[in-house]
Symmetry: C2
Subunit: 324 residues, 2 copies
């Protein structure tokens, strides 16, 4: 049976074998830069593991798996322009290292390349893969738009936040898994279940990210904690705190959060003090665990022997153990 390391090796090897340095170099250098930066390769790993779970042929899954990684990286390249983000994975973003025109066009090219990889499989899978991939691609854009809207809207509730992260983050996790199920020749019912498994997992991942941004270990996290607070980001933590606190305290929290004059460390510690009083870390951790547990229940319900599920299961468990 294949281990996590085996799957990682297949993906890393496959990415290393791609030639991203094509002509014109102004277009492809940023693509090579982005694709060789590493990252967790979460989405292609999920595709391969799911394909393997259903006994599919990994040879047919490797290119579509790569498509999901390229697509994910395309969204980061464009998001970084929109968010004016200077750093990504500890290195300059494409938009910053080159310029926004280059980032727009290299991103567009990566989007098209993702489709090129997505169809490098048996023809029988192509229409099915494309149908779910297209839907996800559009939803990811919708999620990014909602995220941008939330920056200017004062009132956002938790349901709206969940809708946003489902679109922006969870559907791509869901579809990475679903495409693995398609190439594994899973039944329509299992395919749907695996997609739902991915959605729950994706929401849990995003809530985990929100938690780590404030409570993660700086040593492993690779950046200073509290960045979301400094960026006034309406995270799950903030929205939950707003929901939990007394009416009279709501405005105070909003004002503090929107204060851009206060010194960084002071602002973070003041917000954190309010969160601590409301036990936000524990409350949100528990909500995240509910999504995670729901994901595990769905995976359990799939009619495949338990030991075949163990690699995927221990992979997702490890994702939630991380404190970085």
């Amino acid at each position: 049976m294949r281990s996590l390391l085996d799957f990682q090796e297949i993906i890393n090897q496959h990415i290393a074998n791609q030639n991203f340095n094509r002509f014109p170099s102004e277009l492809y250098d940023p693509i090579a830069y982005t694709m060789t930066q590493g990252g967790k390769r979460l989405r292609p790993l999920l595709t391969l593991m799911t394909c393997d779970l259903f006994g599919g042929n990994l040879v047919h899954a490797i290119h579509p798996a790569l498509a999901l990684e390229v697509f994910h990286n395309f969204t980061l390249v464009h998001d970084d322009i929109m968010d004016q983000a200077p750093l990504r994975r500890g290195r300059e973003t494409v938009y910053k290292k080159w310029n926004s025109n280059i980032a727009i066009l290299s991103g567009d090219t990566m989007f098209a390349m993702a489709y090129q990889y997505a169809i490098q499989t048996e023809d029988q899978y192509v229409p099915k893969i494309l149908r779910v991939f297209n839907k996800a691609a559009i939803e990811v854009c919708e999620g990014q738009q909602l995220d941008m809207n939330f920056e200017v809207i004062t009132q956002v509730n938790l349901d709206e936040y969940l809708e946003m992260i489902q679109l922006k983050t969870a559907v791509l996790i869901g579809v990475s898994i679903q495409i693995g199920a398609i190439i594994g020749n899973a039944s329509d019912e299992d395919m749907k279940l695996m997609y739902d498994f991915g959605i729950q997992l994706g929401i849990a991942f995003q809530i985990k990210d929100d938690l780590l941004d404030l409570y993660g270990s700086e040593k492993y996290f690779g950046k200073k904690t509290g960045g979301d607070i400094l960026a006034n980001k309406k995270t799950y933590l903030f929205l939950k705190a707003l929901e939990q606190c007394h009416n009279s305290d709501k405005q105070a929290l909003i004002d503090l959060y929107n204060d851009n004059q206060m010194k960084d460390d002071l602002k973070i510690s003041k917000v954190k003090a309010i969160f601590d009083q409301l036990q936000i870390e524990i409350v949100v951790e528990s909500i995240m665990q509910d999504y995670y547990k729901h994901a595990v229940e769905i995976l359990d319900s799939i009619q495949i022997e338990k030991n075949k599920k163990s690699v995927l299961f221990s992979f997702i468990t490890s994702m939630f153990k991380r404190d970085y």
Copy 2:
């Protein structure tokens, strides 16, 4: 037999039936705005006409035809950001009317929607359509990059220019026709010939555009002539003039072309005077005619009765009669 008007009616009706006004409106309003602005609908017309030429079922071609129109409009939305263009078809560009973030993300969504339309046909056509469409999408990005490179490179020759317009413009014309041939169940040989026909046609169209920008009738052209000269654009006219003029005059032409201080009308008339001396309009018109004639020869060589080709033939002829 169907007339040009019939094909136009099918496309306009189909576009009118699409609901582009979805949620979130910040994302979809610019898409509805772009898609309902009109335009020649050249690419979907070519898809439908070619499908019909080979006796294909237009019901299977209408969505892929729309895909090409949506994709083309996506490229315009992103190009207008990169070129900082304030106007398109006489109206404000998306980037100008909203902002660049909206234009980036609405454009991305249109790209994904194009793929959604491209696969709304019989499953048997999907892998073939996607293979040629992906290749074209990437080449269009490469062409746009070369076009941006040319803005900063001082020395560009005609071969490089032709490579650029082939990638940026002609391949999408080629693939619009090729996809019509695929759905018309054309033989592989005819499919290839029709693609080549489209490439020749596309190059001729672009050279025609360069000519119209300076020599078109302002009344019909809808904007002032000479815009390319004011933007220091290295058009076919300019590069041909550089090639034709004496070595001693080359630098003078380059300096004049790059002069951004001179009054608009004076700069245009001075450049035009040099072009006239070199008979650039006649020389370039004749080169354009060569591409057009080559296109017609390829169309003639397709083994289909002549009268069936008449709609497509008179359509492309009319495109070259336009002086706007």
